[in-house]
Each structure stands twice: as C-alpha cells, then as structure tokens.
Subunit: 197 residues, 2 copies
DNA sequence: TAATTTACTGTATATAATTACAGTATATGA
DNA sequence: TCATATACTGTAATTATATACAGTAAATTA
C-alpha cells in the first residue's frame, strides 16, 4: 500500500474494521458517520483515492461494493529486523500472511493424539491440516485408515506392501496385511499449534 | 446448523461463496439470479428460514446485511472417527475451526531461522505467531531483542539476570549482561507450518 | 385431516445507497 | 506559479435493495 495519507489510512481502517466486525463493508454514509464527516461525498472521495492507490477495489453500482485488496488483509510477517527499528515497523514487514495461511490447501483438521510423530516436530494436540487424497508418494506424511483406526504416519509402499512409519523410535512400523482394510484419507499439508505458552 | 433443507443449503452455499469470492454478501436479487428464481421474494423467504434455523443473521434495513454465523464458517476439526463412516462425515466433526485459529491472538508472524527450538517442536521455516508483550514469565517462549538481534528463546529471570535458553542441546544459554540492550518484543502464542509434505 | 412449512411467482413501495455535480479552502509538486 | 491532490460541505437524482403483501401448490407434521 503506497503512500496513503493519514486521513486515507483512517478511512481504510474504518472499512477494514467494519468488515471484520460485520462481515460486510460499510456504506459511504456509515463511513462518514464514524469519521464525523458531514457529507457522504467526503467518504466517496476518499474511496476513490484508495482505489487509485490500490488499497481497495470498487464494484461500481453495487451497494457496499468495496473489496479489500488481498495484500492489505491478514497478519504481517516480519522478515529481517532493521537495526534500531521497532520490530513491527513497516520496513521490517516482509509480506502479509493471508488470514489463514493454510486455508486454501486444508480440507479439514485432525487433532494429534500421542507423540508418535514427535521427531517430525508434530506434537500432541497439534492441529494437522489435511488435504483429501487417495494416493501418496513414499515418505509423505498421510492420514491413513486401517480397518476402523485413523492414524497419522509416514507412508511407504514397496513390493512387500504398505508400511506406516512413526517419527518416534518408541513406535514400531505398522505393516498393513492383506486382510486389513486400508485407505489413505489425505495428505498432511500443514500444522497449527495453539497455546504455545 | 440444524436441519436445513436441500434448497436452504443451496441458498446458504450461494451466500457463503459470494462472501468468499467478493468480500461481501449477495443481495436478494443476486441470490435469485444465481439460483434461477424468478422472484426476489424466493430468496427473501429462504433467508428468513435460514435466520430462523440459526444458519445466518440478518441486519434489518441494511443492504447485504447478512452475517454468516461463526460456527458455519471455517474448517472442520475431525474428532473421533466413528466406525465405518467416511472421515469427514458430519458425525465426526468435533467443531469448526475459525478461518484462522490463531487470528485473534497473533499480532505478527516471525519465520523461524535455525534449529535452536527444535526440541519444542519448532522447526526452521515455521511461522511463529507472536503476541506483543513487554513482559514474560519464567519458562515462556519469547521473542527477545539483544542489541540488534531478535531471537526466539525460552525466557528465565532470576537474581543473576536474564537467561535465554534454546531448546536444543547444541546451543548454549544466552546470559544477558548489563551493557546490552535487552527487551521482550512478544510472547510466542502459536505456530503455523506450511508445506509439510 | 387440518395446520404448518416449504418453495416458489408477481407486484409494489419505501428507503438505502451510489454517484455525479457544484463549491470552498489548503497543501503539494512540477 | 499553475496544475493537481487533499479534504471536505451540500444538493440532488438515479438506481439498488429490503421487504411487505397477495397468491399458488406441494410436502410435511401434528
């Protein structure tokens, strides 16, 4: 977002906050009311400026037809921290992480039980983001089903059959035999850990 | 979401998809057009039914004044998988994870460099979600600044001073001396790992 | 079997909302 | 210094939108 004036930043924040709070953007009149403009056209003019500068997009003729441009939403990712600068200073922001970095890929989450994947940095109670898939390549971490059990393991297949391998030396490999029902439910594509402290 | 009819589900999906695609909900007329209703009132009636059943909320008098109820958005968290059921069957869904499970707490992300926190299950390139804070309790994982360096470590303080401890035996504790500038930038509250496979 | 819910069409209207036009005043860049 | 941008007030008109009312018909529930 390039060179917004203080007032334009205020208008932008009002729009953003309204979307977060209500799920839809404000009207010109609502913006004007919040910022104590006596004319709706003040809001309209600011919107035009924000469009021109690429902070938002307009859908002409639509009520509340304001889109926040993707890079302006989400959470900042701090890259290299410049000497002496506050950590969240604009020059330190590498990019903006979408509201959910895993959102596009993840079909569902599974909560991890046990410590069988601890060497892969996957701890108990982590949320594993899973993408639906019926197939996997050797070495990939998969959500697999053996009969009625669903488990998270590394997947290997060779001429002897399917082997599911834990990332913890205390666990033995699981060899799937011909009598068992086996299917891959999905691929682990990411993890989320809440409550780190 | 309780007992929506097939048609109500369709209308709900249209609303949800519109919000995802455009950033704001559709009008009655837009819903009607998408679903080939010849009367806008068909959409209006469905909206009333969806409100009654708790799938959405209405903001009366507001254009596009439709809110998706929180539990209806986001990504399903699969709990115990019932015997024989498809993994994502409704009875297996424990709850719905908000679009970003860390969103409320995280002020910014830091990308992890190095393996100093590997024993805490924090790997290189993980995104650590950080909450602004100037203080920490002993044992908490913090983002700290020593002179110009920003680092992620476990924080300890006693009468001898501040000690920053890695979660990796190959790293020595960092003892902060009086001549150095030291500050806590924030507390690690979660992690996100993309590209697991 | 009667009442209610679902699932619409069709009409109408008040109001919500966008957006253009006409100004004023100050600040900034070329 | 002259054009352009910023930052508004104020008015007005067109159109976008919500929403009520009057129906019809079939399915569901009590």
């Amino acid at each position: 977002m390039i060179n917004l004036t203080n007032q334009q930043i205020k208008v932008f924040e009002v729009i953003k906050d309204h979307v977060v709070a209500n799920g839809f953007p404000p009207t010109r009149a609502e913006i004007a009311k919040i910022l104590n403009f006596k004319s709706v056209n003040a809001a309209e003019s600011h919107i035009k400026a924000l469009v021109k500068k690429g902070a938002i997009e307009k859908v002409p003729g639509s009520s509340r037809g304001i889109k926040l441009v993707e890079e302006t939403t989400g959470i900042p990712l701090i890259g290299k921290v410049a000497a002496g600068s506050p950590i969240t200073a604009i020059e330190n922001i590498e990019k903006t992480i979408p509201v959910n970095p895993l959102n596009k890929l993840v079909d569902f989450f599974l909560r991890v039980e046990g410590d069988s994947m601890i060497n892969a940095g996957i701890l108990e109670n982590d949320l594993v983001g899973v993408k639906h898939s019926k197939v996997a390549e050797n070495g990939q971490i998969v959500v697999a089903r053996i009969d009625e059990d669903v488990t998270l393991k590394r997947f290997y297949k060779d001429n002897k059959g399917v082997r599911l391998v834990a990332e913890n030396n205390n666990y033995k490999d699981i060899l799937v035999n011909e009598q068992q029902f086996f299917s891959i439910e999905g691929l682990a594509v990411g993890i989320v850990r809440e409550n780190l402290n």
